[in-house]
Every structure is written in structure tokens, then in C-alpha cells.
Amino acid sequence: MKPPSFAYASPSTLAEAVNLLASGNGNAKVISGGQSLMPMLAFRLAAPDLLVDLKHLKDLGTITIGDDGVRLGAKVRWCDIENDRRLVRSHPLLAEAIKHVAHYQVRNRGTIGGSLAHADPSAEMPGVALTCDGEMTIVGSGGTRVEKASSFFTGPLQTSLEPDEIVTELHLPAWPATRRWAFREFARRKGDFAMAGVLLFYDLDHRNCAVDAHIGAIGIADCPIRLSAAEAALNGNAVTEDCIAAVAAAAKESIDPPSDIHAPGAYRRALLGTLLARGLQHSIS
């Protein structure tokens, strides 16, 4: 179970990295934390000719918090998020969701850029980016572009990234202190990829009704999705028992999760309803 042979480069500038990727004719790959890519190589599911390691690139490892929200450099690791106490106030949904990513060893290496680019349908970070209207800064031979999470994730382990493009940053819009939110997921063991997960937030208007509801789900489709039917059922309503039941029902109605060896689709659907109801319940307590 060893990777096939490949060339390796660790450039010190972003421009160099992009050039190397571009020179690879589609057979070069970025390596960041290696926590998803290395297993793919070891199983020979991926066989790039060239690995371009981001480790010597400067400036991609910072977390910036400002009036416009949170900016996460692509090389920010799970443990960096966990250890940044500011985030508990500045973006509690992010802080909570990331607690559920993998185990200690993986958390010390895995990066948000790698997670976004890898686009595992059950991964937490893509779920956060999508639910929170995140935007990715992407640098490639054609220059720099900014893309919304809503169009970035295109399928299972698929994104809109071109082979010579590198994600450099994720921006999450500012988080009002009074915002209601919840994160719920269920995995077979702690740290495993979730069989289903839900991320949600909304604000309360002067009548105490939910507005601007954002409800995202992971693990129930081929990429993270927004549950617009559930959002519609929540918007404009007081978050009561009845409302919660209606939102969960709308969510279950609107999804068609796949089956795999860990869970049949029917279970995932029911699980999502349970997690959503529990999340909403928690958001009002």
C-alpha cells in the first residue's frame, strides 16, 4: 500500500506554486496537510506525477477577525481554529462545527484549504462555508478570483477548481452577537465522518420570529447542501414546537440521501430530521 512514484516540489511563493501546477498538465496536485491526499495515494486512487507542497508558502496560515467577518488562510489547521478563543464569540458555529472534525493527530495537520478542495460530502468545513455564505479566494494562472461556496461545490469530491488553482482564503461574513444557531451531527464514533449533520442559524425580528434562516446539511447528498424548503418553513415564524416539527418535516421531505455500508438512505433522512429538530430546540433554549 505505497504510493506510486511522483515528483515533489515545495515552492516558496504562490506564483511559483501556480506555475508548477500549470506545468503539470493536469497531473500535478497540491498537498497541504496530506490527511486526505496521502490515503488516496496509498490506495493508488490518485496517481499525480507531481506534488506541490504548500508548506513553505507564507501568509496562508492566519486567522483574521474584523468588522467584515472572519478570514481563514488556506493553511489554517483544525487545531488553530480550536485554539483561537476569539472564534467562540466571533463565529460560534465555525468553532463548534470544527470540534467534530477527526482526531487529535489529524487535527494537527488537516487544513481548511485541503478540506474545501477535497470536498468530502460529510466534511464539516464545506458545510460551514456553504451555510454561512462563505467566499473562497482562489489564485491560478488566470489571476485571482473570488467564488461563492454555493457554486464552488459541484459534486462528490468535486469543485470548480481548475488544476492550476489554489484556494488561498475563506471569508465568512460577520456574525451578529444575538444570532441564534446550532450544530448537530451524528457519527458512529467520535471523530468519524458524520452519517448526517446539520448547521443552522437565524436572527429574530422584533416579533421574535425567525428571519434570514440558513440551514445546511452534510452527509446526506453528494456535496453539502442548503435545505431551502426547511429555511422557508422557518422564516417568518416563531420557533415553537410546531414550527420545529414543520421545519424538520420539510427538510426530510426535500432530501433523498444515498445509501452506503454505514447507513441506508432512509436512516439518514430520519436522522437529519432528528438532528435538525434537536438543533432548533437547542437554539431557543
Binding site: K2, R189, K190
Partner: protein, 758 residues
Amino acid sequence: MKVSNSYVGRPMERVEDLRMVRGRGTYVADVNRPDQLYAVILRSSVAHGTIRSIDFTRALELPGVRHVLTAGGLGDFVPRIPVRLQSLPELEPFHQPVLADRKVRYVGEPVAVVIADTAAIAEDALEHIVLDIETLPAVAGREQAETEPSLLFEGHGSNTAITWRACLGDADAAFKSADYVRRERFKVQRHTAMFMEPRGFVAEWNAVAGEMTVWGTAKTAFYNRRVLAAALGLDEHAVKLVEVDVGGGFGSRGEFYPEDYLIPAAAMIARRPVKWTEDRREHMMSANHSRDIECDVEIAVSRDGRFLGLRGQIWADIGAYLRTNGSVGPRNVAQCMSGPYCFESVDLRSSMLVTNKTPTGSYRGPGRFEADFARERLIDIVARDLEMDRLELRRRNLVADSQMPYPLPTVTPFESTNELDSGDYHAVFDRCLAEFKWEDRSKLRGRLIDGYYHGLGIGSFIEGGAAGPKEDARLVLETDGSLSVYLGSSAIGQGLETIMSQIAADAMEVPFERITINHGSTDHVKDGYGSYHSRSTVMGGSSILLAAEKLKELIRETAAKRFNCSPADVSIDGEKVSHAGNHLTFSNLSDIPLEVEASFFNSKHTWAYGTQAAYVAVDPGTGHVKVIDYLSVEDVGRMINPLTLHGQAIGSIVQGLGGTFLEHLVYDSEGQLLTGSFADYLLPTASDFPNIRSITLELKRCPNNPLGAKGAGEGGIIPVAGVIGNAVADALFHLNVQPNELPLSPPRLWQLIEEARQ
């Protein structure tokens, strides 16, 4: 024995640990020989098919590739691996060839061996071998095995290899006259041992001396040496198998596998040392799988709750071939299903079915884990039907102390009778309830607290150990007075060196530090049997006791010559040897080492026994089960080392919980293994089951060995699935949910709850 010298019974820290935690252990991957080559094995990716051709010319062209070995290159006859336990002539057609011979029968079956300068080159070469296989319909489970016209072994005419039968009394009569009968189906999924590091070998052929040395053997070195020598056409004494450190065996490591032959054969062909290290994916498709048992059993009970009969049919999916110990589980499940209870009659048939999956073998508590799941679940179902207290129902049927020794059902063919040796089953049962605070906690049963239904479960079990026929020990009093012990037993991570040192130090009445234990390798003693069936402590330990008596005799004789007296007049006091005021010590007694060898023979198994209880909470929304408390109480006759034994019990229970909730080797209908890594095969991790307790008792010594000890390495695992199943059913009593199929995964439990609610 002197009070000052009683190591047996003391919680001695493992002498192995310092070496291990400092990274100074030598595992097989640490063994390297000068000039060695690397082997990698091409395994079938097709579950069932006929090999049309294997073309490896392009692989051989790759720089660094030295040889490619296929069945065709092994001569006219491809060696088959004999069965070590319960071998029968009618089962010979099912023995596995060391390389796929004309047909492939499971995904993972070795087809060719590539020998190259590095493992990486060898792996690259695999992709250049063109394997043309004509696919046959896969037999991927019991139903297909019984109904598909596709046969694994055309000559045999069916996919049922053999049917064992376990009988006691007259079951038909019992069922005719019974007040109440109940029939249920139970299923235990395929899962198996996942030890710390996968298997591996380094083999070195000395062509000049005609000697083969192999590092990486475990468990049954002497048996494996006989098999290997025969297959290579060598004299047994020209083959040396060397045991190195291992991180656990659990029944699977150390059996004779195809690689046990292929790597030495590769070294012979290459005339250079050859190393092979299995990776985890390979391990999951090539080392023995286990469990995979389905049963349809029926219980007969009298109105007052006495167990009158147990009968039914068991199917064991043994995979593509009969492995060295492949019959153990399927036989045990029939023989041990009545467990620690008096059933007036038993009639159980256990059929071994061949399917296109990895072959199976023993995994800790083979057959017993499965049998106990069925029995203990069945008892709770009976209690519910008869509206009896499930504790009372068990008490009424547990074998009483006064009934010992108590016969177990007899299994045929390869007839084996067996009897429970000793025990106060009721005392252990009551102790478990008391320690568990069953009474108090009963108030919580079935209650919904914070979204979780709470429940209690219980189950009793027996644990067989100490398989014969014998074990050998050689004791050497070195000239410096230290004591070397050489054993046929092998270390598989169970603390053998510590335990044997304790026994030897007590037997010889010398300080613990004076003892060195040498084990496992084939040049230490003339013969040996190894470590399986919880036998090392009892068998190896007893042989040390016998050898110690002989050594003392030799010490007296030696001293008598020096003292000029009769041996009977020499007294030994610790390391001091005296006669009439003259003294010698072990260190100045003799100029040459004093050496003795002894064998302990035993035809009777030891039967440790116990009761376990669980307190769980079930989340009906997710199907998740929280194990709030788990307790095991077991009587092992005599404890050699409470510390290592405690470790065995806890580890064993965690493995049981893994088998109950998580671990599953999943195949699709084409016979493809879908769980090829630890991302999909879920092992319990350190944080999953933190609340496990174990209490070990010494109530009834084993009457059949001088130590009075009973094998105790497997016990914990045996009743776990039954106990947890019962606790879950108790929590969901109001819904009448009966979890009779493993694993109790969240989706399965959720499904049962949904069905019950409709």
C-alpha cells in the same frame, strides 16, 4: 512455598513493558537481514473464477524485479495447508492451496508473488501482471451457498463442507412434552481480530547448510515448523522458526497461512533473504475472518421455568477454504450454546458453508461469543413470554456446584466429549448483581430520561481453556545461579514473560529477577504447542512446576556428590543448598549448567465462568446506545497476576463491544469486500467505551492442573453481545424490540424501533 516468595497472585508489573514503551521491542517489520529482497503478493480482485492465464513478462522487465512466483512455477503439485485442529479426511478437499490453483475463490486470494529489490518496486510490478480470469457467479452468503448452482468445489457437489452435531439427552422427547417452546433466528456478522501490527515474515535460506530460518512466527511455532518443513521437503530440524515481539494475536495471528509457505519458498528461489510485511488492507482480506454465524434455534421450557431442550440449525459461513482452525468456531457454537445452564437435552447441527469470501478461523471466544448471543437473548425472550423474572429464570437453571463435573453436549464427527470442571455459578451470579447494584438500578428500567431509554442486561458464560495434549518446559540453572526457562508456549502480547517468571520464581523459591524466560522459537525445547485456547498460563505454567521438581532433584544429586551424602539428605532453602552445616549456593554449585526438561500432559479443559451485566441508554432518534456501566465478574480458579488478568478482561470486553456495535466485514453480492481500511471497518477507540469494570474471583480451583488455574484470556468477550442485546431490549421493553442480529449499529436499532412503532 515460603511466604517471602509468593509472586503468584501479586499484581506484578509486566517485565515486557519497559522494553516496549521505550521502543526497544523487535517486531517483525524491525527484522532486516543483509542483502534482503522484498516480496509483495498479487491477490485476486475477483471473488470466483477460473484462471485462464497469468502473464508476468512485463513485470519481470521492470528494473529491480527479480522473480515472479505463480502456482504454475511451484511444480506439479501446489502445496495445500493442512488443518491443525479437528482434521478429517473428508475435509481435505477444502484445504487452501498456497497459491490459487486454476481457480480463485475469494477476493484477496494469493495468485502470484513478486520478489524485488524494494517493496515499492514490487508493488509497481503488480500493475504489470496481466491476470485473465473467467468470472464465475459468486457465492456471497448463506442463501447463495444453499441455492445457487454455483459450486466452489465442483467435485464436492455442494457448498456444505460438513455438518457437526452436538447432542445431549433426548431432545425430540423433551420438545414433545414441553409446556412451552420458542424459536428464534440470530445472526452474528463477520468480523475479526485486528492486532496492532499486521503479519510479516523474513525468511533466510542457507543453501550450503540446507537450513531455513524464518522470523515472524507466533502462536504455534512447532506445528507450523512441521507443516513448513514438509511442504519445502526439508527435515524438521533444518527449519528454525523465530518468534519476535507481537502486538496481539487473538486467535488469528500465527496460524499457518499461505504466506507462511510463500515467503520461505521465495527465499529459497531467490537464494537471498526475503521480507514481506502485510499492510492493513491486505490483512483485512487475507488473515482469518471470523464469526459470520446464523442460527435458527428453539428452546423448550417447563411451566416452572426449567430448561428442557435446545435444538436447531446453525450455519457458519467459513469463506472459501477450511483454514487451520476453521472448524473451532462452528463446533464451539454448537457445543457451548447451552453454556453454564442445565439443559436436559441438546440437539444442534452446525453446517459449515463454503462461500467466495476470505476463509475464517478462530477469533477470541470462537463460537462462544456467537452461541452466548443466541442463548442469553433467548433466555430473556422466554422470561418475557412466561412473565418470569429473568434473574430467577437463570438462577433456576445455572449448573449447581453439587452437579460438578457437568457434561457438555458431545460433538460428532471427530467426537469430543467435555465437562465443566468446577464452579459455584450461583455465587458469581449473585456477586455480579450485588456489585452492579442491580436492585437499585432496576427502578430505571424502561424509563425515558433526557431522551434516552434506560435498560439493564445480564448474561452468564463459560470459558474453555487449556487445550492439551501437552506443553514442554526446559529449566536451566546457569553456573552463575540464574535460572533460564525455555518454553513451548508463545508470547502474543499477553505478558507471558511476566507470568511465567512469577510461576518459576515461586516454584524454585528464587527472586523474580533471577529468571529469564525464553519462548516460542523452535530451538528452545524439543516440542511445543503454543498459545491458543487460553492455554499458555495453565499448560506452560504447569510444565514449569513439573520441571522445577525435576531440577530440584538434580540440584540435590549434584550437591550430594559435592557433600558426599545421599541426595535425600540435601536441603534446598532458596538459593542455598545445605547438608550437615555445609553450604553451597546456586552460583557455586556446579561448573556446568544443570538442565532438565518436563512435559505437562492434560486431556481436560479448564472452565472459567462468570456473569456480566450492562446498564445502557438508548437514543430512539439516532439508534445510538450509550454504555453507562459494564461489569464482568469471573472466577478463574487461581490468579497468577491480577494486573495482567485485569488487562485481559477489559481488553476482551472492549473487543466484545466492538463486535456488538461496530465491527463488520461487509461484502457485496459479487463477493467484493467493501471494508478495506479502518475508515470503514470501525474498531473501538480508547474513548468509545470508558465505563468497564472487571472483578476476578478465586472461588473454585481447577482440579485438573497443579496450579489450580483456569484459562482466562478470552472470557470477557464471550457474553458481551448477549448482555448488551438484553440491556437494549430491556430499555425498549415497551416496544418489544428484540435485537437478534449484530452489529447493533445505529441504523439497525433505529429500524427495529421504527418497525415496532408501526
